[in-house]
Amino acid sequence: MAETLRRVLSAGIAAWPGEENTAEAGPPLLLLGAPGSGKTALLFAAALEAAGEGRGPVLFLTRRPLQSLPCGTGATLDPMRLQKIRFQYSPSTRELFRFLCSAHETPGPAPSLLLLDGLEEYLAEDPGLEESAYLAALLLDTAAYFSHRLGPGRDCGLMVALQTQEEADSGDALHLALLQRYFPAQCWLQPDASGPGEHRHRVCLEPGGLGPRTEWWVTFRPGGEMTITPWHTQAGEPTLVCDTLSIPKECKVLSL
């Protein structure tokens, strides 16, 4: 699933090595970050990107309607694209389970991308490890079923946003390790020094498998506008050791 996100983050950069609009969705991706780090904005940008790829509708699962449509990376809120994004509101874990368990009863064309915002809220409601595993596995199973409906050579991608805690206890770490088993691709949003009225985050994308890690800066301006710059073009930045900065310690220990 990293490819769609990579395209979002690489928008405006002419030559992206090896970038192709492939039908392969790649492994399921977990989007991780602290509150207010722009997870929903990135998830929505990925929805807009996938909606513009002409591969079918996008299904956006969330507890409640978005408060405002996040401003894209210069990508316009094209009505044609917006029409292809279907929002499914599941205000409780029970309803989310019901939706996933009955996804095969839903009529209409299968989506090419399945997105879930706020996984932490669903997990908090039903905090057992078994329930979390079943929820993660059902998300994968639902995406796999949509892939089956899309037909040979076409996959439904899966991208899930999870809020991380600064003070993670051992239970949180166990949950995260479990989710990482089911979501081999991960994208971390780490807060960075912010200017007046601006919030800047460092984005680190690990596509899973043997793919290379890539990094960007995401800046949110006071109006909510999001700008993305590739990390390597930042002139005068000190060379940072990626491993110690991008991944919180408690997660590093548990990386599988």
């Binding site: 492994p27 399921p28 389970f97 019901r98 996933l100 368990c101 009955s102 996804a103 095969h104 009863e105 039903d126 057992g128 490890l129 078994e130 329930e131 595993a133 079943y134 596995a137 059902l138 994968l140 199973d141 995406a143 796999a144 079923y145 089956h148 409906r149 166990l174 479990l178 088993r181 089911y182 979501f183 081999p184 599988l256």
Partner: protein, 140 residues
Amino acid sequence: MAVALPAVVEELLSEMAAAVQESARIPDEHLLSLKFVFGSSAIQALDLVDRQSITLISSPSGRRVYQVLGSSGKTYICLASCHYCSCPAFAFSVLRKGESLLCKHLLAVYLSQVMRTCQQLCVSDKQLTDIFLMEKRQET
């Protein structure tokens, strides 16, 4: 797919599948390898296969799920798309402790695919939903 099996296990399963196709039986050396990798789970999983305890349930939608009748008489579901079994051993030994690769039910599902001994059951789309949801109710 996610939570992939180690390459050595994938290779063993595909060699077993080839052997079954060729001679309709699994050579002893493959059974020994299975025992070496999975320990006592291998025997228990083979026993489940022998008892024809694995059923592939599908609905007209094309969605599928495996149901395994455990030795205790309880049934568990194993997802067809990723590693997940609803049994307590999967939750404890595989997810919580990380000591095992698979539980005996998931191994039995893979072996029944290799040996083509899976029972088949067609249900309605609604019934399939209930099977997925029942798993959720059992947990809580």
